[in-house]
Subunit: 229 residues, 2 copies
């Protein structure tokens, strides 16, 4: 009832943060506009002054998270004196490092984000992050080709394939995370590790490198991820 006026930018980011929290706690579909405005402390009219729809919020959130993701990658891209393979491994390993450091949070996130009813959330985020990741990957591949160490006919296509491999692991990670703390947990973790190792080998072959050059993740990553906090 009291009327509070803030800078549009501040309001927008408050609404975005409220939505981000709720989307990851309860899921996208399960979160209502009323939930968001209650947490952000604004009326419905206020909300629709800043966003055109619920999906608009999701899009803005995806954009923001893509920007954050790119910022993390930029350091690896800008690091001078790194050969292409090293840069690629650093690039692929980034996700792993993040996960091992903040295992519980990431586990919770994976647990939520892959539930049915969160498909839309997951897809939008993945698409947005992929869109900014693709050119970065392409530059690394191009560097490798210029250095004469990667044997690839088409840089863009290979970058897309790497991205696709990464996306395809999400299901496997989700399965493993969902199976954690169950009898099948250990087997799922082992399967995930094996699969990730194979992805590395697949990439080696696509890039024309000896098996074992590309490390998609370090061995044992899955077990580390799934170890109880």
């Amino acid at each position: 009832m009291p009327r509070i006026v803030k800078h549009p930018q501040e309001r927008r980011s408050e609404l975005l943060e409220a939505a981000r929290g709720l989307f990851f706690e309860r899921g996208y579909e399960a979160t209502t506009i009323n939930d968001i405005i209650a947490r952000a402390g604004i009326s419905k009219g206020g909300f629709y002054h800043h966003f055109a729809s619920k999906e608009d919020v999701l899009e803005a959130l995806a954009e923001a998270m893509a920007r954050e993701s790119l910022a993390q990658l930029q350091a690896i891209l800008d690091e001078p004196g790194l050969d292409a393979l090293g840069r690629l491994n650093a690039f692929l390993g980034r996700a792993r490092r993040l996960k091992v450091e903040q295992a519980p949070a990431i586990r919770a996130m994976f647990y939520v984000i892959f539930r049915p009813g969160n498909l839309v959330l997951y897809h939008r985020l993945n698409a947005a992050v992929g869109a900014v990741t693709l050119p970065a990957l392409a530059r690394i591949i191009a560097q490798g080709r210029e250095e004469g160490v990667f044997d690839v006919p088409d840089v863009q296509a290979v970058a897309e394939i790497i991205l696709a491999l990464g996306t395809s692991t999400h299901d496997a990670v989700a399965r493993a995370v969902n199976a954690a703390d169950t009898p099948e947990g250990e087997a799922a973790a082992a399967a995930l590790d094996e699969r990730l190792r194979m992805h590395g080998i697949a990439l080696d072959r696509i890039l024309g490198l000896p098996d074992g050059s590309v490390r998609f993740v370090e061995p044992g990553f899955a077990k580390a991820l799934m170890a109880p906090a």
Copy 2:
């Protein structure tokens, strides 16, 4: 108002067919229960006697389509006297043959199924079809390994990678189809063809075959798909 009683099985399949048509015409989210029951000629109570929810219909539909998909694959799997590479190419080519024969219908389907708001439909269908396709693929890979022509460390993982590559092309196909009849259409078709060719080469290398062995699709497939009816 008149009360019509039918065998549960018949009703179920009538409802499923009504849903299938509407989902592909208007999209999953845009289709309401009322739409479905209107087309099927049954009341709401009747609908909920046969299905627990709207999503339950989708699940049943995905299951049915996965069965149909498997039936198409079975002939290729059972074909005797086919070496592994031939079988794999036949397997991968199946999608292409379908598309070229029924290009307009498939185009329409892709056009609808990849719109936002149909993510759930697409994902469920893809997951269901993938689930039945995976073991079939694995058997082909295993045959190739036994024959000594495929050099793969892990059959299951490679099958999953092939499936992931297939899934990843859907986006590209959707982009191309959506760009058809626009100035960018030709470029999109060319990009799609190039990408599919590269997928073939990627598979060659993963399987330890010389470049050009696996034909993901025939060259020029994209243009054929996008040619006006």
